[in-house]
Each structure stands twice: as C-alpha cells, then as structure tokens.
Symmetry: C2
Subunit: 335 residues, 2 copies
C-alpha cells in the first residue's frame, strides 16, 4: 500500500526515525535497564518491536495496558507505575499470565493490592512531581506494612516528571536532588529496583536502575525543543479539504482537536503555518513567500504531545517514504 492510498486523518510512524530512536535509547539504556512506558504509544505491536530490540520489561499507567500486554504474550515483567484501588481490576491483573508489580504509596493502596492477590509492589515516592508517591519519610514504614501483608517489595519508584522539560544548565543538578530523595527512601525500603526517569532525563539520570521512558519512540514537538537525539517519528496525515486563495488566504486540513493532544499547544503543519485547530480541522496559512496547497493535496501535522494524541486513534501506519509497511493497532486505549 502507498501513503496516498491511506484515508485521512491517519497517524503515521516513520519507520527509519522509529528504528533510530530505539537504537539510540538502547545504546544508553540497554536490555532491562530500559523499562519502556507503554502509555506513550498504547500499542502491543509497538511494544513487541521494543521487546525484540532487547527490552522485554514494560511500564504501564492503566490496568488495561497491563492486561493487554499480558494477553499479547508480553507479560515477562510488567510494572503498573500508578496507584489503583479498584479491587476487580487489581484481581484481573493478579490472575493475568504475567509477572505484575504495582506501585503503592499509602496504606489503602497496599491493602487493595494485597486484598486482590497482587504479589509484588514498588513503594512509590514523591520526588517533587506533585502527583502520586509518598513522602520519603514514610517509605520504610509502608514497605514494612506491605511485607506484613505478604507482598514482595521489589524496591522504589519515583518519577521526576517536573524536570522533563527543565533546561540543560540546571537539569542534572535538579535531577540529582530528586533522585537523592528517592535513594534516601530506597535505603529504608530495600529491594533491587530503583525505577524512574523518562525521555526528558534519560541522559542525566544516573541513579535509577531502570528508566521509565516511552515518548522517545515516537516523539513530539514539545520534546523536540530539548534538542535530544531522537527524531520526530509521529505525524498526522491529512487531506486539504478547502482552500481560500489570495494573499491573506488559508487552507484547511481534515484533522483537528479530536486527532491531536492539545495540552502542550498546537501542532505544527509541515511547510506551512498553523492558524488554529477545531474539532475536525486545522486551518493554516502559507509561510512568508510560500504557497498554499491545492484541494486534495496531503499535508503532515506534527503533534505537540504524543501520549494524548495516540490515545485518540485506532491504529498507526508504519511508513517509509511513500510506502506503507505495516499497521499497528492502538489496542491499549481507555482503562
């Protein structure tokens, strides 16, 4: 199949860029030192590529991601890096054909995990992200409590999400501070695992035993600002459905808010200037000295945030130039 045969809007993955990204990250974090975070791409097909590249242990944000990976035979070592109180979903994960570890950060989450038959946990520690994770001062007590409930405590996790977009000059020092909190908690908790980090800190976080990165696989324009050695592999393939010619003219592509995560701002239109997005459209203008396309032409939009973009779509098409090589179902959506 050719690119021009695809209906629009369609999500594209540039195969050479994806392969480059996996190779670069695998060089820095080989084997199971990388625990790819499936929340960024929500696809067992993409996860299978990472497993084939030597990274068979995955990180997930939702029970459905864990259950989907397990059902796809990718359950060698799954970490749900999130707190869950839902007994039915915890029990489903406990009985899945997989090694499942869940994050806990309170007596209630420990009780829920133990009550549902979950076997292994990490103590989730707040390292400044203003999200889940206990205060480091109570991590040791929670680990004791978990062990008393029969849970195997594998170690700690702490996500320095607030530092992903931190500029280079201060990044290493601030990541060191966050990881100091995590290692302090680890000393109280014990276990082999110190899990954390992400695409934005992959080059400076030297303290975790495994990196929870996912965005590097596909990338977005927000991470693109950091100048990391990962390439923009994800784009939205659109048809130009309306053109207003003239010097103050505009054109309209058939992909908008319902095909793009918008919390990091507008997408970019390759070769043109975005004006605004609405539900099913992106209006754009010509660059200075550029030309508007014609009705029926195709354009590419580059998403500003990969995770909520992927979550809108049913599948991604893997392309190399004009050729469509494969189609990956985005089969881990919703909860």
């Amino acid at each position: 199949m050719r690119l021009s045969d695809l209906s629009t809007p369609s999500l594209l993955v540039d195969a050479p860029a994806f392969a480059h990204n996996v190779a670069v990250m695998g060089e820095a974090w080989p084997g199971t030192t990388l625990r790819p975070h499936v929340k960024a791409f929500k696809s067992t097909s993409l996860a299978r590529e990472l497993a084939a590249a030597g990274h068979p242990a995955f990180c997930a944000a939702t029970p459905r991601e864990v259950l989907g990976l397990a059902a796809a035979g990718l359950g060698a070592d799954l970490l749900l890096a999130n707190e869950v109180l839902d007994g039915a979903r915890l029990a489903a994960m406990a009985s899945a054909d997989a090694r499942v570890t869940v994050a806990v950060d309170s007596e209630a989450t420990i009780a829920a995990a133990a009550g549902a038959g979950i076997g292994e946990v990490l103590i989730d520690v707040d390292v400044g992200c203003l999200r889940c994770g206990c205060d480091p001062s109570v991590a040791g007590r929670l680990a004791e409590l978990a062990r008393a409930r029969g849970l195997h405590v594998r170690g700690v996790m702490g996500y320095e999400g607030q530092l992903m977009m931190e500029p280079g000059a201060t990044k290493e020092e601030r990541v060191a501070g966050a990881m100091h909190r995590l290692l302090g908690a680890h000393a109280e908790v014990g276990g082999d695992v110190v899990s954390g980090g992400g695409t934005g800190t992959y080059a400076v976080n030297r303290w975790v035993t495994e990196l929870q990165a996912g965005s590097f696989t596909l990338m977005d324009t927000d991470y693109g600002r950091l100048g990391l050695p990962f390439r923009q592999a994800l784009s939205l393939w659109c048809t130009v459905v309306s053109v207003h010619a003239g010097p103050s003219g505009w054109a309209v592509a058939d992909g908008g808010l319902k095909a793009l995560g918008m919390d990091h701002g507008n997408p970019s239109v390759v070769g043109h200037v975005l004006v605004y997005c609405s539900d099913e459209h992106s209006t754009f203008a010509a660059t200075d000295g550029g030309m508007l396309p014609s009705v029926g032409d195709r354009v590419r939009l580059l998403p500003a945030h990969v995770d909520p973009t992927v979550a809108y779509h049913e599948r991604m098409y893997v392309v190399d130039g004009e050729e469509v090589l494969d189609s990956w179902a985005i089969d881990l959506r919703n909860w």
Copy 2:
C-alpha cells in the same frame, strides 16, 4: 447499579440536566428547525433521545458519524456539514439507508460528491470562521456547477464559529453581519435550507432555517461562562488515588489528559482547586478553608470542552443522583 459501583475514570451524564437542556433548546428551536450536531456527543443512543424529543434530522462532522447514524436507523435526514474528498467514504454514505446531504465549497468537492453518487448538497459559505466554506461571491456559480453535475442543491450552510463565545453586547450585531453574508449567498444559490448556528448563538441567530447545535446537550465549562440557560450535564467521575496531607498538600484523581479535551484549558474539580493535569491524573488542592478528600473518595471533574472529551471515551453513564440509569455507547468515534 449505583454510582459508587462504576469503575473510574467514567464519563457521567446527569439525566435531569440533559432533559432540561433538550427541553430548553426544543422550546427555542422546535422539531426540524433544530438539526442536532452529533459531533458534540458521538453517540447514537443520545441521538435517539433527541429524535424521540422531536428532532429527527442530524448534523455530522465525519463520514463515520453519518454511517453510524444510518446504521442505527436514524437516517431520516443527515447533513455532513464538512467537506469530503474520499471517494470510498462518499460512496458508502451514498449507498447508506439514509437521506444524506453533504457540504461542498469547491469544484473538487462537487466532483467528488457527484462522482460517488451523493444525491444532495448544501453550498458551504465562509461567514468569517476561517475554515471551510466558499467566498459568497462564488456560491451561485458553484450551485450551478453542482446542478449541472446532477446534484440537488438544497440550499446553503455557514457556520459562524468565530462568534460562539462573543460577549452578549456585540454578539447579535456580529451574527447579523455573518448571516447577511450567508443570506446573500443564499439569494444566488436558492433552495429551502439555510443551515448554521450553534449553542453559543442559539438565542440570537434569527436567520437560519435550521440550527446546527450539539454542545447544549451536555455542556462544558467554556460554554458555561456564557450564562446560557443550559446546565452542565457532563462530568468525569474519578477516584482519589493519592493524598498528600498538610497545609500545602494535594490530592490526585485518576483521570487526566487522556480523558479530557484540553484545548479550552483545564477542567474544574468540583469542591476543590485544580493544580494540573497529566496523562492519567489530575492533581488538585483544597479550597481556602476546605479539606482534601481521603484516598478512595470520589470526585467529579467538569470538562472545559465537551467534544474532544467525549471522543476519548467508549461510553457515558446516565445518572440521576446516586443511581446509574443507563449506559450510552460512544459509538461514532474516529473517522
């Protein structure tokens, strides 16, 4: 089923608020003078409620919405208020068990519609929205071209989207200006239909023969700012999964960017103050003098933009107080 039995995050529709909204809009725009826009709710179950309330003609933004409505037996009069060049999708709509009218605004879109066997069109006219729609000066010529291609031209449409959030003082005058452009085009085009408008202009647009409104059914906090007589019927039901006690403490709900359209800004947390959203979480603080909830408590988030919020979900639960009355599949997602 009780509200407390629902897994989270789940999208809720408050049944009394929804009924109120349908009644208020039906009073202003009875019968087929209202052409409810399914893009706002993407559910044939919700559409069926509107048909039962006397509004059997629908507006859609995607071929899949049209085909889904037709397959659900709701195809009495469907308008695809969008330009489509995809011959296969146009042919599928042409052969659906439904009366299908599509918007056209160029020679290319007329040729695509005629070539695929579509029978009826509206000439889409730009009324200042910077999106699809031809210049009014060429509307008559396009209508002639469409008729020459064997298409029945039912009239015109023009969406004054740029005026939906316009403040009250200038709204009526500016809508009058936009509709003057549309009526000028209509004089050249002919036909019975002048289609346009939306929830934000429902009270001041006296020129269209049918109103394309959808958001009024469920509402969002952005439309809520306008002080319209519609009630917030849509909310995201979440579980509090982590709490950091103390005076500068915070709590975390288990719904975030992948459950909420974010282009109109952050959601509101009922009874609390939102701090920020991430992929699967919303972090919030207590109000001045308020208390944080406990782990395991439930909270409601009110989305800022209904359309891209609904597009993330598989279903909505219809609730009245603590009782879950029904479940509506969001079966018109994607393209």
